[in-house]
């Protein structure tokens, strides 16, 4: 009899885990709460580090969604039960789905920038988030970003909602630095004459090709970097934004006017993940992301036999890292289904 795995969450991690398990001959059920697959990937335009279209990645993942996978969209899970090594996932509409293994791939949420009130998101017109900028790029590719506005200067604020104990997030979101540099270059392409500033504490360009992007941003695109965390942003009567920062490399406070302020919002653990983790008694770390049973050796297993983790519900990660993690998860699940618990 063939074994079944239920994957919860149809973002990059869930789609890749599902596709991989299916290719290994395991029956897969994929449950997604939204109306379509893809998760956050569907909101991004071109991806760092090479600025390929996000659609290309989605197309690849979608190809893996063949007939062997039962897809449940718009599905809300009301309970998860377990008896005799079998899991039963109960949906809100009463349907019951059962399996031999369970993979959580419920991803992350974006930090709600309104919580950093001093930056004025949701209050001032010209303060937007990095996610909104992606949406703009997706929808208005041909148009000038600042049509009508006489935009001359753009500020990009790093670490919004990350590395900030005041909002409860001590961790670094890892990918906002590179996202900021990527977006700075993209804005420059739209507006060759604009002055573009990144306000950063450290530039964490940790992965392959990232540091080179930083170099390119300076050398080729003339992006300027000011080390210092914004203390506040205030709106001028003409709707430009006055930012205040310590330029820590000169040791002097600095103020400047920008026409547009972009907030690089970080990753936060999603309440949905927490809810499901609660049903299964899974443990979370001090950062509130879920913890596998061994971060070095068993990054996809949990202390709960038959329950596995894939993707950014364990913390910030790029798409490339998420794909690798999803494949590792699939292998762990397959091994469990063939050999039982290790």
């Amino acid at each position: 009899m063939s074994k079944t795995a239920i994957i919860i969450g149809g973002g990059v991690a869930g789609m890749e885990t599902a596709g991989q398990l299916n290719r290994l001959g395991i029956e897969v059920v994929l449950i997604e709460k939204q109306a379509s697959l893809g998760g956050h990937l569907k909101n991004w335009d071109r991806l760092f580090p090479d600025r390929r279209e996000s659609q290309e990645v989605f197309d690849y993942l979608e190809k893996g969604m063949n007939d062997g996978i039962s897809l449940y969209l718009n599905a809300t899970i009301s309970d998860i039960r377990e008896a005799g090594g079998k899991f039963t996932v109960i949906l809100e509409d009463g349907r019951e789905l059962s399996s031999d293994a369970l993979v959580l791939a419920t991803g992350y949420d974006l930090f709600d920038a309104r919580k950093k009130e001093e930056y004025g998101f949701g209050i001032y017109d010209n303060v937007i988030t990095s996610a909104e900028l992606e949406e703009f790029f997706r929808n208005n590719k041909q148009k000038n970003l600042f049509e009508g506005v006489q935009s001359k200067r753009v500020g990009i604020v790093h670490c919004v909602g990350s590395r900030d104990e005041k909002v409860g997030n001590l961790y670094c979101s890892k990918l906002c630095c590179v996202t900021g540099v990527k977006q700075a270059i993209e804005i420059r392409e739209l507006m060759p004459d604009a002055e573009i500033f990144c306000f950063y504490m450290d530039l964490r360009m940790f992965d392959r090709h990232f540091e080179e992007m930083y170099y390119e941003a300076q050398e080729k695109w003339g992006i300027r970097f000011i080390r210092g965390r914004l203390s506040e942003a205030a709106e001028n009567p003409d709707h430009t934004i006055l930012v205040k920062v310590e330029d820590t490399l000169t040791g002097l406070p600095l103020k400047m006017k920008v026409d547009l302020l972009i907030l690089l919002v970080g990753f936060v653990p999603s309440p949905e993940t927490k809810r499901l983790a609660g049903m299964l008694g899974l443990k979370e770390g001090d950062d509130r992301f879920l913890c596998p049973s061994d971060e070095h050796l068993l990054p996809n297993s949990t202390d709960h036999p038959g329950v596995f983790l894939a993707g950014t519900l364990k913390g910030p990660a790029s798409i490339a890292a998420t794909i690798v993690d999803a494949r590792a998860a699939a292998l762990q699940v397959a091994e469990y289904l063939v050999n039982g618990e290790r």
């Binding site: 003339g222 080390r227 330029d247 000169t250 002097l252 600095l254 006017k257």
Partner: protein, 113 residues
Amino acid sequence: MKSFGYTITKDRQIDYDANDRRLIEYVEGIEPSIRICMECGSCSATCTAGHFTDFSIRRLHTLLQRGETLHLRKEIEKCMLCGKCQLVCPRGVNLRNLILIIHQALDKLHHDL
């Protein structure tokens, strides 16, 4: 008017909008390597002038980027044009040329600095 001895303290803040960036733009136009400084401080760490005076070539450049040119003419006199800064710079920024071009520019642009 009666004087109470109060004066207005000059603001230390860099007012980027009010500052004049013509000089750095001129310098960058001639020596584009200036752009790729990543503010690591190796240059200042090795600079002999910086060991004996409060001169910091790294900070001078950063201030110039912000359009801060106060005391610039006096500051650049401290550099001996030895070139050690460029030798240690991991990005090969030609700081010696920065100083040379500033000298040039100050005459050319008739900057009253």
